[in-house]
């Protein structure tokens, strides 16, 4: 659902970025909200430490903060293709929200925001993520499309479920490495 509120917040992201690699009106948007049984401060701190992202984002291999709010991102696809970009934190309100934007020259143009709001009834935090990425086309064309998956919504949902599990329980559920028949 694209609410007016989100559109409004998102335009603020674009307005603040100095050298955005995504031009106004470009890109596909995905968004998801989750309620997490942890405080906004805890979740904010976890997200603000950008090096944590590869722990739950399946295709992000590494993130290194290089200073001045700039970070270097490496993404690896299941086909072993690597994509890299620099991104800048363009808005940072401790305990409340973070916005980022990839910079010119990015292999995958992307931008996004994440908001942390106390949930009603003491149920922790409502976390809302809005991300935008470049549509298939240009020099990377179908590779990017494949890399982002047929359903970026699915990728984001799975990544966020993993993040929620990690924050609530300290681990991410898995069956990788368990026994099964016929494949010994």
């Amino acid at each position: 659902m694209k609410t007016r509120l989100v559109e409004k917040n998102y335009s603020r992201v674009r307005a603040v970025a100095s050298q955005p690699s995504l031009k106004s009106g470009e890109g596909s948007k995905i968004e998801k909200s989750l309620t997490i049984n942890r405080s906004p401060e805890e979740i904010y701190s976890f997200w603000r430490q950008l090096e944590n992202w590869p722990r739950f984002m399946q295709h992000i291999q590494s993130v290194n903060q290089t200073g001045d709010g700039i970070s270097h991102w490496v993404m690896k696809t299941s086909h072993d293709r690597t994509f890299e970009w620099d991104a800048r934190i363009i808005e940072d309100k401790p305990g409340q929200m973070i916005s980022w934007q990839s910079l010119e020259g990015a292999d995958v143009d992307n931008a996004g925001s994440v908001w942390f709001t106390p949930a009603t009834g003491g149920r922790g935090t409502v976390m809302k993520v809005v991300m935008k990425y470049s549509p298939p086309g240009g020099k990377l064309g179908s590779v990017v499309a494949k890399l982002m998956g047929d359903s970026p919504e699915k990728q984001l949902a799975q990544d966020l479920f993993r993040m929620k599990s990690l924050l609530e329980t300290g681990e991410i559920p898995t069956i990788e490495g368990q026994p099964r028949g016929g494949k010994q």
């Binding site: 309620t35 049984n37 149920r123 922790g124 699915k154 949902a157 799975q158 479920f161 929620k164 599990s165 609530e168 329980t169 300290g170 681990e171 991410i172 559920p173 898995t174 069956i175 990788e176 490495g177 368990q178 026994p179 099964r180 028949g181 016929g182 494949k183 010994q184």
Partner: protein
């Protein structure tokens, strides 16, 4: 180790597979001493459950000895004897904190798939399809138990496996079904299906104070077992509504339990239509028992559904339920809520759950056990397996 692996409809095989390993810090490895075939395993065996993959290890009723614990498991140690609940629960999410263990947010690696199915992510279950996480089950020599600090119940020495193994599923499932009936003194509870869950629902209804239990089935030995538990029995024969109404003095049961679920047989017209649709994969469940339970239930009574349903139900008599103000309760069992209190009932001698066991087999003979249980051959009601 040896394990019972699923390969397709009516095709399960005992194979040698690798031993399970600790994969996460809250895991434990259990050496299984007793396991069982559940009625719901027959839905897998019959090919009714989607998202199964060849080689999946089945089994969600098991107990054994802890042989290894992950770094974050502080309350169990090597050598502890435990019964493992079939629902895997993290103990830390909103749902677990509200004792809705079988709605846990954090135990299904394929949570997104269940979110697509039901709107929200579902929990992980042992040996019950990749929609439920794809966890290897316990019809094996060993099993990996995630969140072992939350689910498994320690069992004191001196109580034999056969008295406590069913705390893993069917005893709590039958008990929850009865508890959902909100039984008060003088109540009559009718139970459709006298398989293992139905048998525990009957015993549990009495434990919870029902004055009378009416058991409905068409298998003589199952009705006999129900009679031994004190139930009045009715042979399902196409006039069940009339028989139940007559048996309750025209008033109807205060509560009706559907302990059959999506594979209901039956000779009524609606049952035949359901079967025809299922056979051409129109993806509707066979629900004639559910319809009958709603029909039989007294005004303002409760219909409680421990039987498993998976997809849409055709011709659900919603208007009938509305007109009578029927309460409908259902859902996967919150096993963790019942294990301790039911262990106490066992220790106090109120019930010996081993009464349902009719067949004891070695794990190697599990495929034969599935066939026998499925066909109800040899008066089979419940099969336990010893690895």
């Amino acid at each position: 180790m040896r394990a019972l692996c699923w390969y397709g409809k009516e095709d399960v095989r005992v194979e040698r597979v690798s031993d399970p390993k600790i994969l996460n810090p809250h895991d434990a490895i259990v050496r299984i001493t007793t396991t069982a075939i559940c009625g719901s395993d027959l839905h897998l065996y019959g090919g009714f459950v989607p998202a199964m993959e060849e080689g999946d290890i089945l089994g969600h009723e098991f107990m054994g000895e802890v042989v290894e614990v992950g770094s974050e498991v502080k309350n169990l140690k090597k050598g502890d004897r435990v019964v493992v609940p079939f629902t895997i629960a993290c103990g830390r999410c909103f749902f677990c904190e509200h004792k809705l263990w079988s709605a846990c947010d954090n135990t299904n690696p394929n949570a997104y798939e269940t979110e697509l199915e039901t709107g929200y992510p579902g929990p992980g279950l042992f040996g019950y399809s990749h929609a439920n996480g794809g966890y290897a089950g316990g019809q094996a020599e060993y099993a990996r138990v995630p969140f072992a600090d939350v689910g498994p119940l320690k069992i004191p020495d001196g109580i034999p496996d056969e008295k406590v193994i069913f705390l893993s599923d069917i005893f709590p499932t039958g008990y929850q079904a009865a508890e959902n009936c909100n039984i008060t003194a003088g109540d009559t509870v009718a139970v459709w299906g006298c398989g293992p869950v139905g048998q525990f629902a009957i015993r549990s209804a009495f434990l919870l104070g029902a004055e009378r239990v009416i058991a409905i089935d068409d298998v003589p030995e199952r009705l006999e077992m129900a009679r031994q538990s004190g139930a009045h029995t009715i042979t399902g024969n196409g006039h069940t509504f009339e028989d139940v109404k007559e048996a309750t003095g025209g008033m109807g049961p205060d509560a009706c339990i559907d302990a059959v679920g999506l594979e209901a047989h039956g000779s009524t017209l609606d049952a035949k239509l359901d079967k025809a649709k299922m056979s051409v994969k129109l993806a509707t469940d066979r629900a004639n028992v559910l319809r009958e339970a709603i029909h039989c239930c007294r005004k303002g009574g409760t219909v409680s559904v421990p039987g498993v349903y998976m997809s849409a139900v055709d011709k659900f008599p919603f208007g009938m339920a509305f007109a009578k103000g029927v309460n409908i309760r259902m859902g996967q069992t919150q096993v963790q809520n019942y294990m301790r209190p039911l262990l106490k009932h066992i220790e106090d001698g109120d019930i010996d759950p081993s009464f349902v066991i009719t067949h004891r087999l070695n794990l190697n003979d599990a495929p034969e056990g599935y066939r026998t249980f499925r066909e109800k051959h040899d008066k089979c009601i419940k099969v336990v397996l010893n690895p």
